[in-house]
Every structure is written in structure tokens, then in C-alpha cells.
């Protein structure tokens, strides 16, 4: 025991402190309506969600509950109908001027906002005319203006990280589903995102390939990446998640720590869901 007072090695400027405490994602009363008039479908009905920096949030829920839509709203693939979403303190898709008037952002600015958020899709969506390496290099070169050499070096690092260094020159069609999804994760990581969104990343995979993708995601979570994962893998939620959210019919029905939510569900709809999934 030394007598010196414990000094935390954290930045102490007010701005940095505020930023560190501020959630990475802050969704407030988010509504999403598809279509209009009689055909309108109210998919999100006032969702509030906070995702802390460096945490893993798993979103559970039956199909049609709005989990994927919520994810797609976070990176502006869908325009929200009402409410607000902040990522890293920035209002997504809009700008509020001094008089409080809301302006839609120019697509170029939205593209820039998106470039800081990585997304992994259920069906991978790798570019089939490009090799695994070219898939990972594409955005750093085209969006961030890295030289080909730099991008290539970094892409090989990332492919190595997901265990696919020897598959760099293969086209997606020559890879298994699990390998394709790992390339897709490397492709998203190549943009150095501060937030990663996973939209049912293992739902399109053969059962024996699910494990390799979950392992990569678990590794990523350990490295401190902020992640929102929509999945049906309860085991992954239990082991990796810091926060579990259960959605049904466009609202968040129950949320909390995985142990509380998964083992002692209070909401009958969640009890019913877990009984079916487990």
C-alpha cells in the first residue's frame, strides 16, 4: 500500500469527461411508419434506447417486432418518421439551426455519418465481382482516400484477424457462408467504425458455421467495440451482451442485464418468446 492518492489515468477535461459519459447511441421516441394512408404500417412505436460506449447490446424479439428496422434507422438506411437518434453526440440525418428549425442533411453529409458506423447484414452482401481483399479495400480507398498500398496492408491485417488471410484472393462465391460473413465483418471494420451494427449475422448460415462468426464477434466485443446485435442466439446474448433488449410490436418491452432479462423475465411475452427460442 503506497500512501499516494489513487490517480485515475483518464482525461479530465470537462468536454472529454462529458463525452466519455455520454452514450454512443441515444434514440429518443423513435417512430417509423412505412407507406402512407390506408397502407401505412407503424413499425416502430416510440423506441427509447441508450447504448453505452464499449458495450454490447443484444436486441431480441419475434420477427416483425421492428428490431431490424431500428438497426437500419440508426445508420440512416431508413429515414425515421418521428423522434431523434444521436450517434456519438451527432443528430443522425438532420441538423437543427440556431432558431431550432430542423434541416434534412445533404446525402453527402449523411454518407459521412454512415462511414463511422459499420454494418453487417444477414445475407452478407459482399460485392461478388470483387475478391475478399478488394471487398475490404473498397471503402477505405473510395471513401477515405487511402492509397491502395495502405488499404491493402490494413485489409490483410483485418482478414488475418477474422482468420481468412489465405482466402484474400478468393471471390465471395468461392467462400462458405461463414467465411463470407467474416469477410463482411472485416469489410465493416476497415472503416474504423466507432459503432458496429449486426443485423441477424448468423441467420443465413448453416448451423455448423454459426460458431466461427460468433467467435469473431465475441473477439470484437472483447476489444471494446460498441456493438448492437440483432440475433436469435440466446447463448451469445447471455455470454457476450452487457445489455439485452426485448422488442415486440414496435416497442421495447423489457431490457436490462442478460442474467435478469433472460433468466427472470417478468414480461409474459418475453417468457413466451424465450420458451420458443430456447
Amino acid at each position: 500500500m503506497s500512501g499516494s492518492s489513487p490517480v485515475e489515468p483518464v482525461e479530465t477535461t470537462p468536454a472529454a469527461l462529458r463525452q466519455a459519459q455520454e452514450p454512443m447511441v441515444q434514440a429518443r421516441d423513435v417512430h417509423k411508419v412505412f407507406g402512407r394512408g390506408h397502407d401505412a404500417v407503424h413499425v416502430l412505436k416510440g423506441v427509447d434506447l441508450d447504448v453505452a460506449r464499449g458495450s454490447v447490446t443484444v436486441v431480441l424479439g419475434p420477427s416483425g417486432s421492428g428490431k431490424s428496422t431500428l438497426l437500419r434507422c440508426v445508420n440512416e438506411l431508413e429515414e425515421i418518421t418521428a423522434g431523434s437518434i444521436h450517434v456519438d453526440g451527432d443528430l443522425m440525418g438532420y441538423r437543427r439551426d440556431d432558431k431550432g428549425v430542423l434541416h434534412r442533411l445533404h446525402p453527402k453529409v449523411i454518407a459521412k455519418q454512415r462511414s463511422r458506423i459499420g454494418m453487417v447484414f444477414q445475407r452478407f452482401h459482399l460485392f461478388p465481382h470483387k475478391t475478399a481483399l478488394e471487398n475490404v479495400m473498397e471503402a477505405p480507398v473510395q471513401v477515405r482516400g487511402l492509397t491502395k498500398g495502405e488499404a491493402r496492408r490494413r485489409a490483410l491485417e483485418l482478414l488475418d484477424r477474422v482468420g481468412l488471410a489465405e482466402r484474400a484472393e478468393f471471390y465471395p462465391a468461392q467462400l462458405s457462408g461463414g467465411q463470407q460473413q467474416r469477410v463482411a465483418i472485416a469489410r465493416a471494420l476497415a472503416m474504423d467504425p466507432e459503432l458496429m451494427l449486426f443485423d441477424e449475422p448468423t441467420s443465413a448460415l448453416d448451423p455448423e458455421l454459426v460458431g466461427e462468426v460468433l467467435a469473431v464477434m465475441q473477439d470484437l466485443a472483447r476489444s471494446g467495440m460498441t456493438m448492437i446485435v440483432v440475433t436469435h442466439e440466446i447463448g451469445f446474448a447471455r455470454e457476450v451482451a452487457d445489455h439485452v433488449v426485448f422488442m415486440d410490436d414496435g416497442t421495447i418491452v423489457e431490457e436490462g442485464r442478460p442474467a435478469d432479462v433472460l433468466d427472470n423475465p417478468s414480461e409474459p411475452r418475453l417468457q413466451d418468446f424465450l420458451a420458443h427460442v430456447l
Binding site: 454518407a111 461478388p128 471503402a139 471471390y171 462465391a173 441467420s203
Partner: protein, 323 residues
């Protein structure tokens, strides 16, 4: 992960093939018919094969081939550029752009190419003077239409604008054929619309666009003979017709033109084959990847490639997914 066969390979089955007498019968029938046709062509003196051979290499005819090629490739190149623009406009959010594209396609597909070419030829009569300046205001540059839109340019523009309307629909079909997830994935990476189109969507659309465009190119080769409507008189059909009429032997000269068209079409088909192979890379498990496969040298075909190559299975990873 090596797929090298382990241990002794089994002796393949030795079975007698299914007898196929139909093949032998049809081969003999076709052979006889071909022999008859060749005999009928070669021995008929009315075809004047000596004249055909003489004019096949005539300087006016070869120059006509040259002009036909210039018109074909020039108008197709211009038409492809216009068609991509039209197809993108047609899919744009901007209602003005959509309207312009719709009107263009409606007009140029809806009127006969022959009439269009006549009007291009008449342009210098209808508008003897063209000028650049502020609309309804002062003019800065003025020139005589005849000096700028010569018969050649009238023919080229006429063919290109007409073709662009057809190609625009082909390009549009190609763009629509690309999985929307591709553009979405590119969007999620922060790519802007222009880049997404050029780097992600268009290269994949080419797989669908190239075959019908090859078809259109071959069709254009023959359509160039209509430029006599302008009139532009140096291309192959007009040149051979003129000679045929002059020497009172139209039939051999028609054969001369037909042989040249056949030859050029054959070359175009070979080119199309390689273009299709190039844009097919990455699809079809890399089997058609222009011989590139995974880059960096030859490799052993992988197990899945061999299974796929047998053509008895479908290796679409999404076939078993219920969305």
C-alpha cells in the same frame, strides 16, 4: 483445408452407354442436306463467283467496310454513354430527369429510324444557321449547319440517338437486376451514390447488359445500311449496290456485302464472348472468371468447384434461406 484425394481412388464404373441411333441418323441427314446446299451454291453459274471474288477485295468495297465499322462503333459508343445517362435519369428521384428520359425513349423508339435519318439529313435545310448564345437573347457564335453537321455526322448522330433509346432500356434492366442489398451495403460503408453506381452496381449490371448490347451492335452493323436516307453513300451496302448496278450484276455484289457482314459479325461474336467472361468474374463460383479464379497463379480446383462444374447442383447460398 486440402481436398486432395486421400488413398486409392476407386475404379470408375465401366458401363455401356445408352445407344443413341438418332444422333447417327440426324448426322447423316444433315450432312446430305449440307452437301446439296453447297453443291447448289457453287455449281450455279448465276452467282458469278468470279465476280464475287473480284469485288470482295475491291478498294471501294473495303473502304465501305471501313465506313460501316466507323458508323457502327461510333454510334454504339455514343449510344452507350447516352443510354447509361438515360437509365440513371429514369431511376432518379428527380421528376424532371425522369420525365426527360421517358420522353427521349418514347420519341426515339416511337418513330422510324429511316425517318429520323432523313430529318438529320434535312437539318441543314430546316435550320441553315445554328448559333450559341443566351436563349431568346444575344447570340455569340453562329455557324452554317452544313459545315458542322456533315452527312457523316448526321448519319452517326441519327443512329446513335435512336440506338440510345433502346440501349437505355437494356441498361435499366441491368441496373434493376442487381440485388438492392449491394447498393445498401455500399451505402452503409459511407459510399456516395455516384461511386455506388460506378464501382458496385454498374459492374454487376454489365453481366446482364453485355449480351443484349452485343445483339444490338450486330443489329447496328446492318442498320448502318439505312444511312442512305441522310444520304451518306460510302458505307458497304450503298457501295456494293452502286457497283452492282453499274456492272449490271447486282446478285454477286449482294453476296459480297453479305459475306463481309458475316465476317464482321463473327468477329463481334468472339469479342462478345470475352466481354461476357470478363464481367462474369466472381459469379458462377469463379469458373467463368476470365481464367483468373483466385489470383496469384494456378490452383487445384476445390471440391465445391468440381461439384458445381458437374452442373447437377445449385450452389446459390441463399436457396435454402427463407427470408
Amino acid at each position: 483445408m486440402e481436398d486432395r484425394p486421400s488413398g486409392q481412388l476407386p475404379e470408375p464404373l465401366h458401363a455401356r452407354p445408352v445407344p443413341r441411333p438418332g444422333r447417327w441418323v440426324s448426322a447423316v441427314v444433315v450432312l446430305v442436306l449440307v452437301a446439296m446446299a453447297v453443291n447448289a451454291l457453287v455449281t450455279n453459274p448465276n452467282f458469278r463467283w468470279d465476280t464475287v471474288w473480284l469485288y470482295l477485295r475491291d478498294v471501294v468495297v473495303v473502304r465501305g467496310v471501313g465506313w460501316t465499322l466507323v458508323l457502327t462503333f461510333g454510334s454504339m459508343a455514343l449510344a452507350i454513354v447516352l443510354a447509361v445517362m438515360l437509365a440513371v435519369m429514369r431511376r432518379s428521384d428527380n421528376p424532371v430527369m425522369r420525365g426527360v428520359s421517358w420522353f427521349w425513349i418514347w420519341f426515339f423508339r416511337g418513330t422510324p429510324i429511316y425517318t429520323q435519318l432523313v430529318f438529320w439529313g434535312l437539318l441543314s435545310v430546316l435550320y441553315p444557321r445554328l448559333s450559341l448564345g443566351i436563349p431568346f437573347g444575344p447570340e455569340f457564335w453562329t455557324f452554317t449547319t452544313q459545315d458542322v453537321i456533315t452527312a457523316f455526322w448526321a448519319a452517326l448522330l441519327g443512329l446513335a440517338l435512336n440506338e440510345s433509346a433502346y440501349l437505355a432500356e437494356i441498361v435499366r434492366a441491368g441496373l434493376s437486376s442487381v440485388d438492392p442489398g449491394q447498393a445498401e451495403a455500399a451505402k452503409a460503408l459511407g459510399m456516395k451514390d455516384g461511386k455506388i453506381l460506378r464501382r458496385i452496381v454498374l459492374p454487376q449490371a454489365m453481366r446482364v447488359i453485355v449480351p443484349p448490347t452485343g445483339n444490338e451492335t450486330i443489329s447496328m452493323l446492318k442498320t448502318t445500311s439505312l444511312v442512305l436516307a441522310v444520304p451518306f453513300t460510302l458505307e458497304l451496302t450503298y457501295a456494293t449496290n452502286a457497283i452492282g448496278n453499274r456492272i449490271f450484276q447486282p446478285i454477286p455484289l449482294l453476296i459480297v456485302a453479305a459475306l463481309w457482314y458475316l465476317l464482321i459479325t463473327s468477329v463481334l461474336m468472339i469479342g462478345q464472348h470475352y466481354l461476357e467472361r470478363y464481367y462474369g468474374r466472381g459469379f458462377d463460383g469463379g469458373r467463368t472468371g476470365g481464367g483468373r479464379g483466385p489470383r496469384g497463379g494456378r490452383r487445384k480446383p476445390r471440391k465445391q468447384d468440381l461439384i458445381g462444374a458437374s452442373g447437377t447442383t445449385k450452389d446459390d447460398p441463399f436457396l435454402e434461406v427463407t427470408p
